[in-house]
Point group: C2
Chain length 424, copies 2
């Protein structure tokens, strides 16, 4: 592993505290990932990224800044990365997925805040993550109460632009989102000093669409039985796609998809054909949150799809590439992003339709509907989802968890009982 | 007390369960309210309303419906009652303030939901409150995550219209709120069968403004030292104003204000002049939530102002009465409602300005910043508020509580220590 100590020091990181994280992560990753059997060779790239997680990509970002480029940190799948790349910038997802950062967030946020928000704020305030220190600007968004207010605290730390996400999906809400994208273009142009035009935005739309297409190929492969890739591995691919260079991300996901398609042709799988096929629905799992996937798959079930922001919501819909003027492109972006069904919208019955459709496409035996503790949006929707799935005889359990390991055994017991029921 | 059993039965209420509530409430009210010394005579009306709380006003509403009128139940100070009254309807605030209803809400909502939302949903589902059963329509609003999702569950019970409240306060957000008011006018016209015009809306604007002016007079009187009315009594006045007939509400508040102004002339107060003067800031206290006020005032401090939806946020701003066309009136309504500073907006620094201003106007010695458990919006803002107030040497404590009595002693101890500090 290369030595990044100087780079981290230059970023003003708390090196002593950061060392603690650097000691735990490889071991955790080894236990969860490297013990898996028959992993696709295409996972080597992602394993390498994790092995240098705070080194290789941050170094690229710093190099980009050295060459005059700008870096934008984001926290949500509703932020249109296309705009940033159209101006020659880098957009990188920052969401924190480790308990390590939670206590830092709790210094300023109510303990009753979801761990993703607490970890994200803590990672910045404690200066233990290079990704949070590099960006020239954070691009945040009004999706849930917790994030909306957390931005007010982070705004004291770093320049921020807030995208106001509509709460409903009427025509005027799509128009409102288009107006937000227009504003965002202005902000990005100002920060980067580069004008965005139909040509550059068109290219960026293709760039990000290509990443989505590659992820769609990986996910499509998971529809096969036996499933050629574990849920843990697929989750890692998505997690890393959030902040990797999008062209490389597409390339690597396409390489992996080639291999998975070959495996399907050969009938090769990583779980026996009769292993229960599980869908995870609900809140995102930011890197390195692999807890639930690890529990489920260690019990012999295969997670074949995630209906989440670190799953299908991230890449399912493409932006219309035939839009040729800036106005048309902005409209196409607004329409694409407003197709994503987050629980922050009301009503949000289209999300239930998504779950039904995915359960069918991925031949799911049971759904583990999960939400991060204190996420009122997803936990309230779980009531409505359970009603519909029960009517359709689709087995479902609801799990609320956080980033700590305290509930590990309890979750294992609950998941085990659920899988037992599916196997009958 | 009149016999309303038949009326309640006709509403489909759970009479047995409701009897339990009817037994507890008078005793609770007696202990909290009737033990106070030197209460203004003007409080007799409000005492009467509480003594017949599920009788007299519901009977009026039912009579209104019998005569062809419609009733709209609301949950938020952002719902423009003016529109309902302009169409000859009745708007009535429904927010639940009792622990009695919480368990009913928890049957369908996550336990991690604020007690106000759980109680409101429980009051409807358990059929133990006539106010929740009478309305022809609920007019809900997208303010916080908990409410936004709870409406999706309540929508299975009763016709609902949702007003989409903006999350920011830019010019385009005021315009968006005006568009929501326009939609709401259409909905109310349809439900009532009555057209709203500039004349009827103008009259309704005056009607509701008059109620606001009357409440402003009551609150202005609280600026005097010694304070001529307890915080508990003032809170009760506001709570009842949420659902009483607005013309009567104004009349009764004006009568009370006359008496309070007389008291000020006479130098009569309900607390000694040296009693600590307290501001409560934060989340609303729906009837019959008197817990914190009771604790504070039982310890000898006077609550002189509430920066909350059951306080200044309810009546501080008036709608411009010079607007003469429907378009102008809609705009004036949007501007007035968007002046209210709820923590659901971002940024919301104007709320901090409000608190600073109120502390000065009401000559406040200390602030008790309070939030209902699991209200992430207000609890996150409390961090920012505490920072500013501490810089200004304004003593402040933050209290998180719910509707249960479990934390009563603990709160008393904390408030006592805070008051002790103020008295030094």
């Amino acid at each position: 592993m290369a030595d990044y100590q100087q780079m981290w020091a230059n970023l003003g990181m708390d090196l002593e505290k950061h060392d603690v994280l650097c000691e735990v992560l490889p071991e955790a990753f080894g236990g969860v990932y490297l013990t898996q059997q028959d992993r696709p060779k295409g996972m080597d790239f992602y394993d390498f990224v994790v092995s240098e997680i705070h080194g290789v990509r941050p170094a690229e970002m710093l190099q980009h800044q050295k060459e005059g480029g700008k870096v934008f940190g984001t926290f949500c799948v509703y932020v249109p990365d296309e705009v940033v790349f159209a101006a020659g910038g880098i957009a990188a997802g920052l969401c924190g997925g480790s308990q390590f950062w939670v206590s830092g967030g709790e210094k300023v946020l109510p303990a009753n805040t979801c761990p993703l928000i607490k970890a994200s704020v803590g990672a910045r305030l404690d200066k233990t993550c290079p990704f949070f220190l590099i960006p020239d600007m954070y691009v945040a968004e009004n999706t849930c109460d917790g994030k909306k207010k957390a931005w007010e605290i982070l705004a004291g730390e770093v320049p921020m632009h807030i995208i106001d996400i509509p709460q409903m999906k009427r025509e005027r809400d799509v128009a409102a989102f288009a107006a937000e994208i227009r504003d965002f273009i202005g902000v990005v142009e100002k920060v980067t000093g580069k004008k965005i035009n139909a040509e550059s935005l068109g290219e960026a739309i293709k760039l990000i669409n290509n990443k989505r297409r590659a992820l769609q190929r990986v996910y499509n492969a998971r529809k096969a039985s036996p499933v050629p890739i574990s849920g843990k591995d697929a989750l890692l691919v998505t997690q890393i796609n959030f902040y990797d260079d999008p062209a490389r991300a597409a390339q690597m996901a396409n390489n992996l998809a080639d291999e998975l398609e070959q495996r399907i042709n050969n009938g090769t799988g990583v779980f026996p054909e009769n292993a229960p096929r599980i869908m995870i629905s609900g809140t995102p799992m930011a890197i390195p949150n692999w807890k639930l996937h690890h529990i489920v798959e260690s019990l012999g079930a295969a997670i074949v799809v995630e209906e989440s922001c670190t799953g299908t919501r991230y890449f399912e819909n493409l932006v219309d590439e035939t839009a040729s003027t800036l106005d048309e492109q902005i409209r196409a972006l607004a329409e694409r992003y407003m197709k994503t069904n987050c629980a922050c919208f009301t009503p949000n019955s289209a999300r239930i339709d998504d779950i039904i459709r995915l359960a069918d496409e991925y031949k799911v035996d049971g759904i583990i509907d999960t939400n991060l503790q204190f996420c009122n949006l997803y936990s309230t929707e779980s009531y409505l989802i359970k009603q519909v799935m029960t009517e359709r005889n689709l087995p479902i359990i609801h799990i609320e968890t956080d980033y700590s390991e305290q509930d590990f055994e309890q979750l294992r017991t609950r998941v085990e009982a659920f899988l037992e029921m599916l196997r009958k």
